[in-house]
């Protein structure tokens, strides 16, 4: 049965509001976790800052350009943190057999499963990332036009799909193998490497990080559209498409695993 996007958004909104309400009722936990998340971001920034106290530039990338990349990666990694956190619990539901309980609703299974958890802590990262981008943008003297901002938003959203896709695929391995936590954890660690310009790597690893584990699409390629408008490689323009394609494939893979699983698990 066809359900419109509006229908799904309304349901998501409702679950979100309730979820936040119930989290607020554990106030001290909520506050401490949020402070912890902010600390993580500040610490990440401080180590970045310390590093560049010693070096004026890296491989032709200035401090503010690197800062831009850093902010870009923070923002594009926010959706996976906020919206798809339930992927971390997937293997537990699958082993215990509790996953079957998601299969009987008249709505999309993937949506229904992911909608259950919204990790509000990620919003701190979003704010921090946006702040970093704005600061770097101003310092770099980049023009502020509607087109630029539009580009920025489109490229941020599509870039965020890459990490979501990687995480979906990694989480879905639990439908086949037992140690999926390590796979998920490994993929999760990739995100730390997304903030560096791919040009620092040797050609072999450039290839790997572009086509095999496409983390270069989380920040590097999409950022070029804004940072180096004179020499944008084809891959940068393709990055929105690549984001969409990867997301779609990971969704299909996830659903395939879910269907296969519910068909066999007792």
């Amino acid at each position: 049965m066809h359900r419109s996007i509006g229908f799904y958004l309304r349901i998501y909104g409702k679950i979100l509001v309730q979820d936040i309400k119930s989290k607020m009722s554990y106030r001290s936990d909520f506050i401490i976790s949020t402070i912890g998340m902010i600390c993580t971001n500040i610490a990440g920034f401080v180590s970045f800052w310390i590093l560049f106290q010693n070096f004026p530039s890296v491989d032709g990338w200035s401090y503010y350009e690197m800062l831009f990349l850093y902010g870009f990666s923070l923002v594009s990694l926010t959706p996976v943190q906020c919206l798809f956190d339930n992927n971390w619990s997937l293997r537990i539901y699958v082993y215990s057999g509790d996953f079957i309980k998601y299969c009987f609703r008249p709505i999309n299974l993937f949506f229904y499963y992911q909608s259950e958890i919204f990790d509000i802590k990620g919003l701190g990262q979003l704010a921090f990332g946006i702040g970093t981008i704005v600061y770097a943008w101003a310092k770099l003297g980049l023009p502020v036009t509607v087109l630029m901002i539009l580009k920025m938003i489109v490229f941020l959203i599509t870039a965020s799909l890459i990490m979501i896709a990687l995480q979906n695929a990694a989480a879905a391995t639990c439908f086949w193998i037992q140690n999926s936590f390590y796979v998920l954890d490994l993929v999760f660690r990739f995100k730390d490497y997304a903030k560096y310009p791919i040009t620092i790597f040797s050609p072999v690893f450039r290839f790997i990080f572009t086509f095999l584990m496409p983390i270069a699409f989380i920040a590097y390629y999409p950022s070029l559209v804004i940072l180096r408008p004179d020499e944008i490689p084809l891959l940068s323009w393709l990055s929105p498409v690549i984001g969409l394609v990867f997301f779609f494939l990971s969704y299909k893979f996830w659903m395939y695993g879910a269907m296969k699983y519910s068909g066999t698990g007792s």
């Binding site: 049965m1 309304r10 309730q18 979820d19 119930s22 989290k23 079957i100 008249p106 519910s262």
Partner: protein
């Protein structure tokens, strides 16, 4: 109108023959070494709208596989299946609108949310109109003391309260068919009674078809007129309980009490009579088929060998019938 129609339904699984060791597990990734397991073997049945059917069988009999095929989660290997008016696995989402599912120990409600909020989300998901929603809630209020539950997060509820809530949630969108999988498992006696009354009332009021799988014969006695029994994927029985009891009409349960270790006594009696013997803390039960030997003759024989202090005579219980069918089948 019939609510479920199943004809020659069969489900086979291909199971990989697993190899051990690191090399073995790599082999398994590419292996085509399968064996076929038949979980459901040529089952046919028709369920009318409004019936409560007890779907029974030992663990691993194929009950949950059948339920999964009826709910559209699983595609049959062969045979026909129509639930409501759709083929389940082809229209899973459409069917989901027409059915409700409850698992005794797996709550489908939002863990952190108060029950009322779960209901409101379900109202949106199933697109229940305000009118129908309010009518249903009003009906619930007449049946159970729901107010104290409504504002309690599900995770703070007892198992009984949670099961109750799950059943209410499953009936909320007025489904045509509800599947209840061991709804009373792990509950105390009074909660079991409460839940049976609720299920009965909902079935009566809404004419909902209920498919009930359970190991608790109390559920069956309280709710089902018809039972279906399967074992090893094959259907063993499909008819009224009354009919089944008539079938075993010549059986009586003779219960005797004596001093000493009842288990040891039961062991001795087992050698002396030709019937199944069991013992609990108080009684030794002997299931006597009067066509073979009269109860009084059995009792007379036992009196010579044992010091019987007390005795009772009972009709065969549903529990014993089911046990007998599991053990011997219906001839």
């Amino acid at each position: 109108m019939s609510s479920i129609q199943i004809k020659n339904l069969t489900k086979q699984f291909k199971v990989l023959n697993r190899h051990e060791g690191l090399k073995g597990s790599i082999q398994d990734l590419f292996s085509r070494d399968y064996k076929t397991v038949t979980a459901v073997d040529n089952i046919s049945m028709t369920v009318e709208q409004g019936e409560i059917v007890g779907y029974l069988g030992p663990n691993g009999a194929g009950k949950s596989t059948t339920i999964k095929m009826m709910t559209g989660v699983l595609e049959p290997t062969s045979g026909e299946i129509i639930v409501g008016d759709v083929v389940p696995y082809r229209n899973r989402t459409k069917l989901a609108q027409e059915i409700g599912v409850v698992f005794g120990q797996r709550s489908q409600l939002w863990w952190a949310l108060p029950l009322i909020e779960s209901f409101r989300i379900l109202k949106d998901i199933y697109r229940i109109s305000d009118e129908n929603y309010n009518a249903m809630m009003d009906f619930y209020r007449t049946q159970v003391d729901i107010e104290p539950l409504l504002h309690k997060p599900v995770r703070q509820m007892s198992l009984g309260q949670r099961t109750l809530s799950d059943i209410l949630a499953a009936f909320l969108h007025d489904p045509k068919i509800v599947f209840l999988d061991e709804p009373t498992i792990g509950l105390d006696v009074s909660m079991k009674a409460k839940i049976r009354t609720l299920i009965h009332a909902l079935n009566q009021e809404k004419n909902t078809t209920v498919i009930l799988t359970t190991h608790d014969m109390g559920d069956v006695d309280a709710l089902c007129r018809r039972i279906v029994i399967i074992d090893k994927g094959k259907m063993l029985y499909d008819n009224d309980i009354a009919h089944l009891k008539g079938f075993f009409g010549s059986y009586r349960t003779l219960k005797v009490r004596m001093d000493g270790d009842l288990q040891a006594h039961a062991e001795e009696i087992r050698k002396e009579v030709d019937f199944s013997v069991s013992a609990d803390e108080e009684w030794i039960s002997i299931l006597v088929d009067e066509e073979k030997e009269k109860v009084l003759d059995v009792l007379g024989r036992l009196q010579h060998t044992h010091n019987i202090r007390d005795m009772q005579l009972e009709e065969i219980s549903t529990e014993e019938i089911i046990k007998k069918i599991y053990e011997e089948g219906v001839e």
